[in-house]
C-alpha cells in the first residue's frame, strides 16, 4: 500500500469531479432541490379550502336540521373549510363531487334520528388517501357540534362512502394502476436516451444520416421499437397488478400468490392506450435529451430532473389541487399528470373513451408527444462535426 499512489488516485477523482459540473450538480444541487420541493409540497399543502356540503336527508327533518346546522357552523369554524348548505339533495351532491365543485359531502341519512345517530361522509374515491386527510377536521367539528347541542352526549357514528372504488381502498389499490404509467415512462425514457446516445457517440448516427433515411423515419422507427417494448412492459405489469394466481403449497414451499389482485372496473386497453401515448412522448424526450449527454451516466443524471419532479408533482401522492398554487401550473404541463389522472379515471372510476376527462387527458398526452417528436427530429441533423 503506497499512500502516495492512493493520494494520487484521490486527487485525480477530485480533479475529474471538478471538471464535471453535471455530476457536481447531481451530487449537491439535485438532492437539495428535490428535498426543497418535497418540503414545499408537504408544508404548504391544502392551500385551497376543502369544500364541504352538509346535507340533511333525515326522515325527521326538524331534529336533523338542528344537528345539521350546528354541524355546519362547527365545520365553518374550522380552518381551511368552506361550508356549502345550498346543495338540494344527494344526487346533486354526487354530481358536484364528480365535477370537482365539492370535496366532501356530510349527509344525515334518511334513517337518522336522535336514537340512531349515523352520519355519512361521501367523497369521490379517486384518491381515497388524499380525501381522507380532511377526515380528522370533520371529526373534530362533529365533536364540537355535539358538545354544543347538549342534547345527549352520544357521538354519532361516521360511515364513509365513496362514489368510485371503496373507502377501504388501500394505498396499493389506488397507486398500483398509476405506477404502471410511471414505470413505462421511466424506463422508456432511460432506454431511449441511452440507445440514442450510443448512436450519436458510436458513429452509427453519422452512418444513418449518410443514407436516404429521413429524420422522421428514425424517430418513428425508434417510437415503434420502444412502443413495442413499452407494450410488453405494460402488459406484464398490468397482468401482475390486476391478476392473482394462487400457487398451492408444494413440499417445503408454502402456498403463495403471484400478482397483486388489485380490483379494477376499468378497461385495461384504454389504460394501455394512455400509457402508450405517454411512452411515445418519453421516446422523443429521450432522443432530444441525448443531445445534451456524452456518456450513459449523463443520461442517468436526467432522472432527478425529468423523472423525480413528475413523481412529486404529477398527482402521484397528492392531488394537483392540493399543491402550492405556484406549483400547480408546473404540474399541469407535466405529461405524467395527465397520464395519472387518466389512469385513475379509467382504472378506478371505470371511465371509457366516452368520458370527456379521459379524452382530454389523452388529447393532452398526444399533444405533448407530438411536441417532443418535433423537438427530437430537430436535434438529429444538428450535429457538431
Amino acid at each position: 500500500m503506497n499512500p502516495l499512489r492512493v493520494a494520487a488516485v484521490f486527487r485525480r477523482i477530485v480533479a475529474q469531479f471538478r471538471r464535471d459540473p453535471r455530476s457536481l450538480a447531481l451530487l449537491f444541487v439535485a438532492p437539495v432541490a428535490i428535498i426543497a420541493l418535497l418540503g414545499w409540497v408537504l408544508s404548504s399543502q391544502q392551500s385551497t379550502a376543502t369544500r364541504v356540503a352538509v346535507l340533511n336527508e333525515s326522515a325527521q327533518p326538524v331534529a336533523g336540521e338542528a344537528i345539521a346546522s350546528s354541524l355546519a357552523s362547527a365545520l365553518g369554524g374550522q380552518p381551511g373549510i368552506v361550508v356549502n348548505r345550498d346543495v338540494p339533495n344527494d344526487a346533486a351532491a354526487r354530481q358536484m363531487l364528480k365535477d370537482k365543485e365539492l370535496d366532501l359531502v356530510v349527509i344525515l341519512p334518511a334513517d337518522f334520528s336522535m336514537q340512531n345517530r349515523k352520519i355519512e361522509l361521501l367523497t369521490l374515491g379517486l384518491n381515497p388517501t388524499g380525501e381522507a386527510s380532511v377526515l380528522p377536521v370533520v371529526q373534530r367539528a362533529l365533536i364540537e357540534a355535539v358538545a354544543k347541542s347538549s342534547s345527549g352526549a352520544v357521538l354519532p357514528t361516521i360511515e364513509r362512502t365513496t362514489i368510485y372504488g371503496s373507502p377501504d381502498a388501500t394505498q396499493l389499490d389506488t397507486l398500483a394502476p398509476v405506477v404502471v404509467g410511471f414505470f413505462a415512462y421511466f424506463f422508456v425514457f432511460i432506454l431511449t436516451g441511452i440507445s440514442f446516445l450510443r448512436e450519436r457517440v458510436g458513429g452509427t448516427l453519422e452512418r444513418l444520416l449518410a443514407t436516404p433515411v429521413s429524420r422522421s423515419e428514425i424517430v418513428l422507427g425508434y417510437s415503434l421499437g420502444f412502443g413495442f417494448f413499452a407494450t410488453l412492459q405494460v402488459a406484464i405489469v398490468l397482468a401482475f397488478v390486476l391478476g392473482r394466481l394462487g400457487i398451492p403449497a408444494l413440499g417445503p414451499v408454502p402456498a403463495f400468490a403471484i400478482g397483486l389482485g388489485v380490483q379494477t372496473i376499468g378497461n385495461p386497453l384504454i389504460a394501455y392506450l394512455l400509457v402508450l401515448v405517454l411512452g411515445l412522448g418519453a421516446v422523443s424526450l429521450g432522443i432530444f435529451l441525448s443531445t445534451f449527454a456524452r456518456t450513459e451516466l449523463q443520461i442517468l443524471q436526467f432522472i432527478p430532473i425529468v423523472i423525480v419532479p413528475q413523481g412529486l408533482l404529477g398527482g402521484f401522492f397528492w392531488p394537483i389541487e392540493q399543491l402550492p398554487s405556484l406549483l400547480q401550473p408546473v404540474a399541469r404541463i407535466l405529461p405524467v399528470t395527465y397520464a395519472i389522472d387518466g389512469l385513475r379515471q379509467v382504472m378506478i372510476a371505470g371511465a371509457d373513451l366516452t368520458s370527456g376527462q379521459v379524452l382530454l387527458d389523452l388529447g393532452v398526452l398526444v399533444g405533448i408527444a407530438a411536441f417532443f417528436v418535433v423537438l427530437a427530429a430537430g436535434t438529429i441533423r444538428r450535429e457538431i462535426a
Partner: protein, 284 residues
C-alpha cells in the same frame, strides 16, 4: 460483385446507382465550388474548388485537422456549408434522395456491436433500399466475411469490423464512394486487398474519394489532392506532383507545396504520417 457491380451491363435497371448512364461522361462526379465551412473562427474548409471526373480514385492527402473529414461531410451533405456549393453526380448536396447513389465509410466503424454481421449489413442495405439478397451475400464475399454471418460485430477483430463497415458502405452499389481513412488500423496485407478492391470499383465506373494521411498509399490513387488548413494545395497525378515539386518523394512534395522548408528535424517528411497516425484516435 456487390460493390464492384457498377458496370451498366450488370447493374439493375431500377437502381439509380448506374451513374455512368445518368451523368454524361464529361460531367464531374464530385464537384465543389468555393466551398467553405467555418466553425466559429476556424475555417475548416476554406474555399475549395474542385471538379472530379468519374471513374477514378482520388486521394485527399493531408495531416489530421487539415479539413479532410469536414470536406467529405460537406460533399456527403452531413454538414451544411457556410458558403459555396457541393455537387455529387450533378445534384447539389445536401440531397437525401441522392444519398442512395453515394457510399460513405466513416472513420469510426459505425456498426452496431450487438448486432451480427448479417444484421448490420441488412440494416444498412434496407436504409439504402437494397433489397437484393444476392447483393448482400456478394458484399460479404468481397470483404471476406462470408461464413461469419451470425457473428456479433463486437466479437470481430478490428480488421474484420473495418471490412464489415466497408461492406455496409458498398452494399447498395454506389456510383460515388467516400472513404474516410479506410485503412486506419488495417494490417498491411488487408490494406493491399482494400486497394485492389478500390481499383476494381473504379474500373467498373465508380468514383472513389479516399482520405488518408499515409503517404505510401498515395501512389495507389489515380489523382491526389494535397489538403492543408482547409485548402487544396495542389492537385494532379502522383507523378505530376512529384515532377512539379522536383522531388521523387511525395512527402517532400507535400511539404514543399505546403510552403514548409525542411529545416527542423521534427518536420522531416516521415513525421507527417507519424504525427497523423498518433493523432488519429483523437481526431474528429
Amino acid at each position: 460483385m456487390a460493390g464492384a457491380g457498377l458496370s451498366s451491363a450488370t447493374a439493375p435497371a431500377t437502381a439509380p446507382a448506374t451513374a455512368p448512364a445518368v451523368v454524361p461522361a464529361a460531367a464531374p462526379a464530385v464537384e465543389a465550388v468555393a466551398l467553405r465551412k467555418d466553425f466559429g473562427p476556424i475555417h475548416a474548409v476554406d474555399g475549395i474548388d474542385m471538379a472530379l471526373p468519374p471513374g477514378r480514385i482520388y486521394g485527399l492527402l493531408g495531416p489530421n485537422g487539415s479539413g479532410k473529414t469536414t470536406l467529405i461531410r460537406l460533399l456527403v451533405g452531413l454538414a451544411s456549408a457556410t458558403s459555396g456549393k457541393a455537387r455529387v453526380l450533378g445534384v447539389e448536396m445536401p440531397s437525401r434522395s441522392n444519398l442512395a447513389r453515394i457510399g460513405y465509410m466513416t472513420q469510426a466503424d459505425g456498426i452496431y456491436p450487438e448486432l451480427s454481421v448479417w444484421e448490420n449489413l441488412s440494416f444498412f442495405a434496407a436504409l439504402y433500399g437494397q433489397t437484393d439478397r444476392a447483393a448482400l451475400i456478394r458484399a460479404l464475399e468481397l470483404v471476406e466475411l462470408d461464413g461469419r454471418h451470425g457473428t456479433p460485430a463486437q466479437d470481430l477483430s478490428g480488421g474484420m469490423r473495418r471490412r464489415l463497415s466497408m461492406a455496409c458502405a458498398l452494399v447498395h452499389r454506389p456510383a460515388v464512394i467516400f472513404l474516410d481513412e479506410p485503412t486506419v488500423g488495417v494490417d498491411p496485407a488487408l490494406r493491399v486487398q482494400f486497394w485492389d478492391h478500390f481499383h476494381r470499383l473504379a474500373s467498373d465506373g465508380a468514383t472513389l474519394v479516399v482520405s488518408s494521411h499515409v503517404m505510401d498509399e498515395a501512389d495507389r490513387c489515380d489523382e491526389l489532392l494535397f489538403i492543408r488548413d482547409g485548402r487544396v494545395l495542389a492537385q494532379g497525378t502522383p507523378d505530376a506532383l512529384r515532377k512539379k515539386a522536383g522531388t521523387d518523394n511525395l512527402e517532400t512534395a507535400f511539404l514543399q507545396f505546403a510552403g514548409v522548408t525542411v529545416r527542423e528535424p521534427a518536420m522531416t517528411a516521415g513525421d507527417l504520417a507519424a504525427s497523423g497516425a498518433a493523432a488519429t484516435k483523437t481526431s474528429r
